[in-house]
Symmetry: C2
Subunit: 241 residues, 2 copies
């Protein structure tokens, strides 16, 4: 990890440990320089990294402030590291319904940019938060990238295994979200009724080189889940005229 | 606008006009330097801006690629400029149901960080896409910031008025999303049935100085709308241990 990344992580830990809230002001540049004993430039890069991730915002001539948001229990649609971090204050468990190597369907092949029939790991899980089922997850992993999985791995955090175990460099993700009426199978899984609302999130996770490796379809319990997204200012790219 | 912002907009226009897709490669740094007649540093800043907005991704040692995504008709949860840009290929119209100055309720005051009873503009609109109703929108604007509105303004793009007319510097937004069952009033508006699924998005828009100025609650027609969010890699900030 580069020096400015280490410092950014430390700043984030400080914000979290001190339970700083939106609008709380951070120290000025010079104080950070003195505190960390690094160059102005390194501090600027650390702050830019935190800004990109929606942790802080900088106001010209006025200072740096905590961005955050004031609602707990929301799943962040923009973070990439799976639930175990988004919901880290809660006890998460999984029930494994399937773990197989299968041939990619057309839909899976399209989303993973592989050939139809190519081998993928298929994992189906019920996810529980504090022993309440909050989603049904179907995941497909390109087996040429995710070369090995077993019951123990998929019963824990798959993303932790991918990054720490397989040492994959996880990059960006695309998330597609819509509401629909539950069918019988998913209603049974979520202990809801046919026709009840549900949210479907399709996710495509890419390596840092842009290659997709994980296509997941998650059906969420509408009473147990809510989502959060941070918008960046886009004013300088969009032409309003 | 700064030079690198002008260049970033031009690069974005080129990507869109050439209908470039995810994975398509952009010219190398030196070619951009020659094309725009500016310094390497300016090109790097333009590319960083595009990367922050999820337009491109850079792979060390390999080049710069279009990020994009391959699905049309999704509303981007991360862009800040309202629908008129997100859905700019479609014909959008509004039916105004209310336009009043009212006293802020507790909920509105909390989200706009103002005092209960302070004056806000309240706007209620049905939004139509190609003459099909796709959402019911309740918006509350802090009147000390959004000092004037009228029927003509709210029948068009409010964000265009705020940025071009009032010259407000729009910054980041927070978006909260969940599914629920429609009540009678919104079912009537959306021409759906009571109990049908709906998506509620609550948005808080801030000025660049961090001050909230717009709190909106939008109920979406579940068959007419789907959402898109781009996740950034977060690996360097999150400690998996």
């Amino acid at each position: 990890m580069l020096k400015y990344e280490v410092i950014a992580r430390d700043m984030l830990a400080t914000i979290e440990n001190n339970k700083m809230e939106q609008g709380d002001q951070l120290p000025v540049l010079e104080d950070f320089v003195a505190q960390y004993g690094v160059s102005k430039n390194t501090i600027i890069k650390a702050l830019e990294l935190l800004e990109t991730h929606g942790i802080i915002y900088q106001v010209r001539g006025s200072g740096t402030f905590v961005r955050g948001h004031r609602r707990q229990g929301y799943i962040n649609l923009i973070e990439n590291q799976g639930f175990n971090s988004a919901l880290r204050d809660f006890k998460l468990t999984s029930v494994i319904l399937a773990l197989d190597v299968i041939a990619a369907s057309e839909e899976v092949a399209y989303n993973l940019k592989i050939d139809v029939g190519q081998e993928v790991y298929y994992v189906k899980r019920l996810r529980k938060i504090e022993d309440r089922i909050f989603c049904v997850e179907d995941s497909y992993f390109d087996k040429s990238i995710v070369t090995f999985m077993n019951e123990q791995i998929v019963s824990d955090s798959i993303f932790q295994y991918l990054t720490k175990g397989l040492n994959l460099k996880v990059g960006f993700s695309d998330q597609f979200l819509r509401a629909f009426k539950l069918n019988q199978e998913n209603a049974d899984h979520l202990k809801l009724s046919v026709g009840d609302p549900a949210i479907l999130v399709e996710s495509i996770y890419h390596l840092q080189n842009g290659q997709p490796f994980d296509y997941s379809k998650i059906v969420y319990h509408y009473e147990e889940t809510q989502f959060f997204a941070q918008g960046n200012s886009y004013y300088s790219l969009i032409d309003f005229d």
